[in-house]
C-alpha cells in the first residue's frame, strides 16, 4: 500500500504493507532507530512519537494510519544538529543513564509542556507516567522537565 505523510517536516511516500507497525516502519524501513521498542504492548512508552503534535505509541499504530499525518520522531524534534531545550536539560541534569527510555521520555515531556504551560512536579510525574525508566529513578528526569519549564517561563528557551 502506498502511503504519504510528513516525517520530521519532510514529505515522504512509501510502499509498505498497510499493517506494518509504525515502530517497525520507522526503525527497520527508515533506519530511524531513535524510537525504541520496549514492550510492544503500550506499557513502557519507549516507542512514543508525535503524530499531529500529540504523543502516540508507535507500537500500537499501523502504517495505514499515517496517511496524511505529520509525524515527529526524536530525530526531528529540532532542526539539524541543534538540540531541543528538553534534550539540553536532560543532559544538564544527568537524566540519561542507559538512554533506552530517553527518546520516548523526551517526546512525552515535549507533549506535556505543550499542553500544560507550567506543570508542578506532581503534574510532571502524571504527564510522564506512561514512560518507564529502569535506571534513573525518575528524579533527574523530573528535574530536567521542571527546569525546561522554568527557563521557558523566563523566556530563555522556546
Amino acid at each position: 500500500m502506498k502511503i504519504s505523510f510528513l516525517l520530521n517536516n519532510r514529505e515522504i511516500e512509501l510502499d509498505v504493507p498497510s499493517d506494518r507497525r509504525v515502530v517497525d516502519l520507522l526503525r527497520e524501513d527508515l533506519a530511524l532507530t531513535g524510537t525504541k521498542e520496549g514492550c510492544g504492548a503500550g506499557e513502557c512508552g519507549a516507542c512514543t512519537i508525535l503524530v499531529n503534535g500529540k504523543s502516540r505509541l508507535s507500537c500500537l499504530m499501523l502504517a495505514a494510519q499515517l496517511e496524511g499525518c505529520s509525524v515527529t520522531t526524536i530525530e526531528g524534534l529540532s532542526p539539524g544538529d541543534a538540540l531541543h531545550p528538553v534534550q539540553e536539560a536532560f543532559i544538564e541534569h544527568g537524566a540519561v543513564q542507559c538512554g533506552f527510555c530517553t527518546p520516548g521520555m523526551v517526546i512525552a515531556a515535549v507533549d506535556l509542556l505543550r499542553r500544560t504551560p507550567d506543570p508542578d512536579r506532581p503534574a510532571i510525574r502524571r504527564g510522564l507516567s506512561g514512560n518507564l525508566c529502569r535506571c534513573t529513578g525518575y528524579q533527574k528526569i523530573i528535574d530536567a522537565v521542571e527546569d525546561t519549564s522554568r527557563r521557558r517561563g523566563k523566556g530563555k528557551a522556546s
Binding site: 504493507p17 503500550g42 504523543s55
Partner: protein
C-alpha cells in the same frame, strides 16, 4: 498479513464491511492491537475507525449529550460539556491507563472491549448511558447494561458498530465520586473500583444514590438492594455498615494474580465508607 482500511466516512465503512466479511474493527487500537499481537492468527482485514468524522466529538441535543464512539479519553477529559455535566466520568477516565493510552484509547473501544475492569464503565452505568448502534440500514438505541453481556461479550451483530453514547444532561446528583484501587496509580488495571452518584439533604440524609462497582463480577456490578437500603437514611458509618453486607449478593469476584476474591469483596464494601468523607469534603 491483514489489509488495513481507513475509511473517511460511514458510507465507505459500510461498503468495506460488506466486501470484507471477517474484518475486525478498531479505533485507538490499544486493546485490539495488543490482543492481535498475542494471537498468531491474523484477521483477513482490519478497519480503523479513527478518521470517521461522524464518530467524533461531543454534541448537545436538547436534554441529552451525545459522545461519539471514537472520542478519545484525552479529548473527553478536556471537553467543557463533559467536565460540567459528568464529573464522575471525568474521574474514571483520568485514571485510565497513561497519557499516551488516553491519547489513543476511545470511549467506544472501552465499551466494546467489555472488560469488567474498564474504567469508563462504572461511571457510565451510574449515568444510565444509552448506546447508539448503527449499521448501513438501521440505527437503534439500547441501554449499556443490556449491551454488555459478559467479559469481552457484547450484543453487537455482524455489520454493526457502536456510533456513540447518549447521556442525560444534568444528572440529578450533587456528588460525583469515582475511586479505583490498583497496584499503582498509572498503568494499573483496577482490582476494584466504585463509581457513585449521590445527593445528600442538608440534615445529612441520602436522598438519591447510584452505585456501580468494577472488577468484582463478570460485568460491572450494580445493586438496587444497596441503593434502596441507603436511600432515606443518614450518610453515616452506621448506615454504611448495615449496607455493606448486602453488596455480597451483587458481586462475584474472582481470585487472580493481582488479588484474591476475598480481598476484592472486602474492598468493594470498604469503598462505600469513602462516601462519608467525600460528602464532608464537598461542604
Amino acid at each position: 498479513m491483514s489489509h488495513v482500511f481507513l475509511p473517511p466516512d460511514l458510507d465507505r465503512l459500510w461498503n468495506i464491511l460488506e466486501e470484507n466479511p471477517g474484518a475486525l474493527l478498531y479505533a485507538g487500537g490499544t486493546d485490539l492491537l495488543v490482543r492481535l499481537r498475542q494471537n498468531p492468527l491474523k484477521p483477513p482485514s482490519l478497519v480503523c475507525l479513527e478518521r470517521i468524522e461522524e464518530l467524533h466529538g461531543v454534541r448537545e441535543r436538547g436534554e441529552e449529550v451525545f459522545i461519539g464512539a471514537c472520542a478519545t479519553h484525552t479529548g473527553l477529559l478536556a471537553d467543557a460539556i463533559i467536565r460540567d455535566n459528568f464529573p464522575v466520568l471525568v474521574k474514571g477516565l483520568a485514571c485510565l491507563g497513561s497519557p499516551p493510552i488516553r491519547n489513543m484509547g476511545t470511549i467506544g473501544g472501552n465499551i466494546c472491549t467489555a472488560s469488567p475492569a474498564g474504567d469508563a464503565l462504572p461511571p457510565l452505568y451510574t449515568l444510565d448511558a444509552g448506546l447508539e448502534i448503527r449499521s448501513r440500514n438501521s440505527s437503534r438505541r439500547m441501554a449499556l447494561t443490556d449491551f454488555i453481556l459478559g467479559p469481552g461479550k457484547t450484543s453487537l451483530q455482524q455489520g454493526e458498530i457502536l456510533a456513540g453514547v447518549w447521556l442525560n444532561r444534568h444528572p440529578p446528583f450533587a456528588i460525583h465520586h469515582f475511586e479505583k484501587v490498583g497496584q499503582r496509580n498509572a498503568l494499573a488495571i483496577s482490582l476494584v473500583s466504585l463509581a457513585a452518584l449521590l445527593t445528600v439533604s442538608a440534615p445529612g440524609i441520602i436522598e438519591r444514590v447510584r452505585l456501580a462497582w468494577g472488577s468484582v463480577a463478570p460485568t460491572v456490578a450494580t445493586s438496587a438492594a444497596v441503593e434502596a437500603m441507603l436511600t432515606g437514611r443518614p450518610l453515616s458509618r452506621e448506615t454504611m455498615d448495615s449496607a455493606i453486607p448486602l453488596i455480597g449478593d451483587a458481586i462475584s469476584p474472582i481470585s487472580d494474580t493481582r488479588a484474591t476474591a476475598r480481598y476484592r469483596r472486602t474492598v468493594a464494601g470498604n469503598l462505600l465508607l469513602r462516601l462519608i468523607e467525600v460528602d464532608r469534603r464537598c461542604k
